[in-house]
């Protein structure tokens, strides 16, 4: 490395030559994503501004649709439903009236599930990070809940939460876990925590293992207690891994569908935004599209806030890390 600036220039020339070829490598994926994501998203946005064809409540005549302006959005946000007397607030029990409760339930699930999973996952990672015989077996066992398809998990927990099921038997209770409002929410949370805490734990464990052991040794020599070492060394050094895990799980939970949809079929107290969209698709695809766009904006807004405020920099690539080291 005699002449760094010369090397830099050669690097730049190489970069320009490579650029064309690299784009050729990346192009198939970009085209595929444009077809499978780009097209539906733009179509969804287009649909959300179109009227559903059907009976016009004002005239009682069948109409083909046309532009809807923001009415599909106000339908959800202001809970306005069309009727013979123009726009009125949606009657209770209809999907339109459930929007704000679905937002609340989705956010409730996200906050509760992700915080429980982060805490338990941290504990689980601490256990799995220790050295003992059969450690590999333990890690495999922990992967099992993660590998089982969510639909199967949902049925399994729905069964365990039956009135005559094992949960009521063990607790000696008579709780209607799948129909009572808070019990059913609790049941969904329990099933999700069971399924995804291991995933969280593995992400945290990976972060735990890059902390060099001599940092702990030094702290030990200085007389730090186990708790002090955990709070002042483990937690700060674990922060990046923990934040990425939390970000990933938050995105997943905001779009949660399978567990509540299967476990507590038709129970509005666990209806999340995704469930509402799927229920609406057959009733009115254009207002379903508007609801899905709202969901999408909510998910991205929360992702943005998490990345900006907490600094969970998930977009950093390997290259950055290599350069930084």
């Amino acid at each position: 490395m005699s002449d760094p600036s010369g090397a830099k220039q050669r690097g730049l020339a190489l970069e320009l030559r490579q650029s064309g070829k690299a784009w050729l490598f990346v192009a198939p994926v970009l085209v595929a994503l444009a077809v499978v994501i780009g097209y539906p998203v733009f179509e969804a946005i287009w649909m959300s501004f179109s009227k559903d064809s059907g009976i016009d409540p004002a005239t009682g005549m069948f109409v083909e649709g046309g532009s809807a302006g923001f009415s599909n959005y106000t339908h959800w946000l202001l809970q306005q439903c069309g009727s013979l007397n123009g726009m009125v607030s949606c009657p209770t029990g209809t999907l339109g009236s459930q929007f704000w409760s679905a937002v609340g339930i989705t956010l409730f699930f996200t906050v509760v599930m992700v915080s429980i999973e982060a805490l338990l996952g941290l504990g689980m990672a601490m256990v799995m990070g220790k050295t003992f015989r059969g450690r590999a077996l333990l890690r495999a066992a922990v992967l099992i809940p993660w590998a089982i398809p969510t639909a199967v998990t949902a049925r399994l927990w729905e069964f365990m939460f039956q009135y005559d099921g094992v949960v009521n038997r063990v607790l000696g209770t008579h709780i209607l876990w799948t129909s009572d409002m808070w019990a059913s929410r609790f049941a969904v949370v329990a099933a999700d925590v069971w399924k995804t805490t291991p995933f969280m734990a593995l992400l945290i464990l990976a972060g735990l293992q890059v902390i060099p052991a001599d940092v702990y040794e030094a702290a030990k020599v200085d007389g730090a207690t186990a708790w002090q070492r955990f709070v002042h060394i483990t937690l700060p050094l674990l922060k990046p891994a923990l934040l990425v895990a939390v970000l990933f799980r938050t995105m997943d939970t905001l779009r949660i569908y399978d567990l509540p949809a299967i476990m507590t079929l038709g129970n509005p107290s666990t209806n999340t935004l995704s469930i509402l969209v799927v229920e609406q698709v057959r009733q009115g695809p254009n207002s379903a599209a508007a609801l899905s766009v709202i969901t999408f904006l909510l998910v991205f807004a929360i992702a943005f806030i998490l990345v900006k405020v907490l600094g969970a920099n998930a977009v950093r690539t390997q290259e950055d890390q290599r350069k930084a080291n």
């Binding site: 070829k21 220790k130 895990a245």
Partner: protein, 295 residues
């Protein structure tokens, strides 16, 4: 200079184990036991009920009593409308096709993102990452409409194509972090010997990356098998994957859920996945964390 340290004698005098240490060991094994029960408990319960006579489904004896294979027969009984064998086949078809397409497209892009410098690289990797965080509900409405119009509802491609939307970004991301870890020297040597970038990729990198590609395939397959939301709307009677079949399992009485048969079906789906997890545990973990934390 200090004098040479004297070698420690190999036999350390036996010292009484301190209480602190003993409590530590007890706590560790208690933690291990809790984690084990966590992972295996509900799965074990599913297996116990699956092998138990359906009349005793709600028994709470923690081991199998009244053992029978009847539930497994019921799960496959087409006369009850549970064409579970077909559903298993459908899941394998959809999962394999999705995985194959995602790998073929993803390997090239991952290689470029990990190994080549080019303008717009960060934009593309950001784009691909945000694609993986995309809520699937956005796709549901337009695809349901489109596939209804062109008569694709109930056909395999109606599920394979949307599955690519979340499997492909994941594939690219995991593969890219694997590729970045491969040694650079071999590739550079090949380039100096006159190999083109594509030849270096095909002849040197791809064989080296085979284990990583295999790992990614497992993860992509599991993710694809897991899909339910889109399949629920886009599948037909003959193309239902296991997730949809198991969610809508029916018995003789439409008001009574045939839980014993459902648990048997659950065991059938789960056992191959559990075996896969046990065999490839190390690889699966490295793949999961490659896609997650290392970024």
């Amino acid at each position: 200079m200090t004098k040479e340290p004297v070698a420690e004698p190999k036999t350390v005098p036996v010292q009484p184990v301190s209480w602190r240490k003993r409590i530590g060991t007890v706590r560790l094994y208690l933690g291990v036991a809790i984690v084990l029960v966590w992972g295996l408990g509900p799965f074990y319960w599913m297996a116990v009920v699956a092998f138990r006579d359906p009349a005793h489904t709600f028994d709470s004896t923690p081991w199998p009593t009244h053992v029978t294979l009847e539930n497994f027969r019921n799960a496959f009984d087409t006369s009850r409308g549970n064409n579970f064998g077909r559903a298993l086949l459908n899941s394998v078809i959809i999962g394999s096709a999705t995985t194959a397409v995602a790998l073929i497209l993803g390997v090239l892009a991952a290689y470029a993102l990990a190994r080549m410098a080019f303008a717009g690289k960060y934009l593309i990797s950001g784009l691909i990452l945000s694609a993986s965080m995309f809520p699937a509900v956005v796709l549901v409405t337009p695809l349901f409409q489109l596939f209804t119009d062109i008569g694709w509802i109930g056909q395999y491609q109606a599920m394979i194509i949307p599955n690519i939307s979340f499997v492909l970004p994941m594939t690219v991301y995991i593969l890219a972090s694997f590729f970045a870890e491969l040694p650079w020297e071999l590739e550079e040597a090949a380039r100096i010997d006159g190999a083109s970038k594509f030849q270096a990729f095909r002849l040197i990198m791809l064989p080296l990356a085979a284990p990583a590609v295999f790992t990614t395939a497992i993860l992509a397959f599991i993710a694809s098998i897991n899909e339910y939301l889109l399949a629920r709307l886009l599948s037909g009677d003959d193309t239902k994957p296991v997730t949809v079949a198991i969610a809508s399992f029916s018995g003789n009485d439409p008001l009574v859920q045939p839980y014993a048969a459902i648990m048997a079906a659950g065991v059938i789906v789960t056992v191959p996945l559990v075996i896969m997890v046990l065999i490839f545990q190390r690889r699966i973990i490295s793949g999961l964390t490659a896609g997650g934390v290392k970024s």
